[in-house]
Symmetry: C2
Amino acid sequence: MRGAEALLHTLADSGVEVCFANPGTSEMHFVAALDAVPRIRPVLGLFEGVATGAADGYGRMAAGPAATLLHLGPGLANGLANLHNARRARTSLVNVVGDHALHHKQYDPPLETDIDAAASTVSGWVHRSTSAAAVGVDTAQAVAAATAPPGQVATLILPADVSWSDGASSAAAPPPKRVPAVADAVVDEVAAVLRSGEPTVVLLGGAACRAAGLRAASRIGAVTGARVLVETFCARHQRGADLPAFDALAYPPETAAEQLATARHVVLAGAASPVSFFAYPERPSHPVPPGAQVHVLAAHTHDVEAALEALADQLASGVAPVPHQPARSNPPAGPLTVQSLAAVVAATLPEDAIVSDEANTAGPFLWAATAGAARHDWLRLTGGAIGQGLPVAVGAAVACPDRPVVCLEADGSAMYTISALWTMAREQLDVTTVVLSNRSYAILRGEMQRVRAGEIGPRAAALLDLDRPELDFVAIAAGMGVPAGRATTAAELSERLVDALTEPGPHLIEAVLPGPASGRQ
Amino acid sequence: MRGAEALLHTLADSGVEVCFANPGTSEMHFVAALDAVPRIRPVLGLFEGVATGAADGYGRMAAGPAATLLHLGPGLANGLANLHNARRARTSLVNVVGDHALHHKQYDPPLETDIDAAASTVSGWVHRSTSAAAVGVDTAQAVAAATAPPGQVATLILPADVSWSDGASSAAAPPPKRVPAVADAVVDEVAAVLRSGEPTVVLLGGAACRAAGLRAASRIGAVTGARVLVETFCARHQRGADLPAFDALAYPPETAAEQLATARHVVLAGAASPVSFFAYPERPSHPVPPGAQVHVLAAHTHDVEAALEALADQLASGVAPVPHQPARSNPPAGPLTVQSLAAVVAATLPEDAIVSDEANTAGPFLWAATAGAARHDWLRLTGGAIGQGLPVAVGAAVACPDRPVVCLEADGSAMYTISALWTMAREQLDVTTVVLSNRSYAILRGEMQRVRAGEIGPRAAALLDLDRPELDFVAIAAGMGVPAGRATTAAELSERLVDALTEPGPHLIEAVLPGPASGRQ
């Protein structure tokens, strides 16, 4: 058996069902082996950032680990930004990077680069297979590393000759790892904090943002008066209908500081200690007020859902979680604004939808408006590397073919990985993309004020505005095989959204919003 | 003076005129400083790979060094593939990467990554500025590193607080470095080899592919009978009209081996010792035959043009270079094939054009057909990281606004950095892009046979073919503000090319070629 076949058998035995790929010459034996080992479905991205972002979206939603196939150092480089987001999402992802044959590297051929150095920036585990005989075991170890709780990127570097050589055999799938439990003493300590009556914020992150964790947190908040927040950029947040709804810790540092201003204690449940996304002159790096104590109920490596339930049982035995009171209203009429757009999305979001949110400045409005929408999963921009939204939608749709996917995508971010639309068309994925077109990097106009960099002159504006020329997303989508239309009023958006959600397959709607630079529609 | 202003003053004093940028929050003071120091023109790319590829194209054609501005580790990651190509092109490029404020990094905010590790994979020089007082001198050193002969990528990491803090001052521009001369004894040794009469190949690379080197090599070949070849992927090759024309060392390893089969000596003039682009089973890594001797006339670090001229003066005093005999013919009629497309391009290429060639499988046909075309510069895919062609065309057009730029672009590669079209439209660059649409990664179908991976099954084909759905480049270009049309016959291509080249500003022509998978038009 060739190395490539052993790799694919081992991946398939380990629960890998899909490989998001953009291969090159050094991966041709892997590609050929896909027909010899037809247990893994290849999905082509026209750019590696699409493949890695799709793998992240897949991994956030699927039961088994995600997998990629990338071409040498430059292919890895193109996929790094979305692997960074996957790292921050703690997605279980086996990242296979083809390399030159081992004997060929010494000649420094044109595509030779330091793959290990680049891979180390996003991976919890990096290993180069050095013989066909070893590749099965190496692959099993890569899966074990990728699925170690809560999940990480494991990069397996596969030299071409290891891939094409005979003498390989598949290896046994690693046993699934159990998520370690939080010690009772830690739960007791946090319970004591919450019983103290001192102002406390419970910050949920990671697995705590799923139904069980949310319900337990709701019970805790109801009894103790603690304020429950969810982390700003959660990888996967279950929301809507009867689930308890909490505010997110805000992105703007001044708002986050206000949310925590009166807290004497911050309890971390699966979340990291909060830190400002960026530094700003004369502002602290984190919003936790001086004198407040930070307590870790559960780190991301531990079973945060069980810990929250144990805490709720101690503090709120017999108390029920407080469901959100849905306030669904008819979609609004009138001009299209961020607010009316959010209301339209909330009113039309279908049951069991998956939302890929890269709406950036519009994100908080959409998030707030949809708290009472139908049940859904909300996937956010975990690592801040833009260009995630469309690929994550691809991967979520591949993982969950029976669920509608709604991609809320800022225009500037959309252009990073726009060819994801083509993969949606090829795979006929049920993704409805709404491009929020305000023809600017609106977030940077806000940040320019926040960092006190002064007035925005014409040269600066040239780097912030996207209006010369205006991007026509309807034409771009059509060029990639995705039916598309434009909405300039709330009613038009509502109508187009309903149509797109009703019809199977991918659709795109360009939602024309006021441009912040000009103030015009 | 703020750090950002000192940086810009120092760059401008060092000959930097343009900054290809895609900034984020941590670069807002740099962006604001562009208006305070209006000596540097910012050019926005909607994706960092566009910015870095454009900087490479600019640096290959401009007198002064190229510069970029990228946002943190993920922005650098998105730009790495084209920085890799710039590294292989030995382009002088100051790569400015914004970073979090120094005091903020310890909190591991979402966008934090190991910038140094990623930068090291493409840079000859990496340095992080740690105070506003130091940033002027650091910038001068970055320019000195970038412009050290023959040129390299120098990455300056700029923390946000260094950028926004006062107390900075600009530093003196570094003195231009001289390219070291090749020792007379080396020229004498190579002259003796060439006088021996033994079969010899002279391989030109780097600066030897410009007019002076080509003319000297032609004289040497005429007198000694040595065969002159140019390296496979030259960063900038001056060609056409009365310049001597030489074959390129072929990309297919079997063809390259044939070209060198009878050589007893290989003389390297600015080129690296040839190596196969990829390894293949049971095939050597390089095409130099056993027993042949490799001699270095001039490494890329040395003055290869002067060395070739000295060699020519020794061997061929009074002998004139042999000009290529242009065989220009009328453009052909009939169906559009790679051959007829190449003939049309050769017949219509305007005087003093710059060609950005990422035509991949069609490249050799285009290259051969244009040897007798009007004078032009030919820029090739130096590092093999696809997605270079459109951005390099952007940068070349910014560097040389009075010269027409023709971008010959494969469909698969075009999709990597397709948003370069928007920058062409915004800057109204005189670039005519011909997309060679064969709806497949044609090169990989060839490589699949070459690596002996076996028959191409349906799962493998799904990763090689781009025909479900077909990409409509006319619609995509229109969506980004570039007027576009489609050509399905040679006559149609000829007409559209003439029109596009006559009218200023960017244009795109989708040239519909037979698809190799189906054999259909």
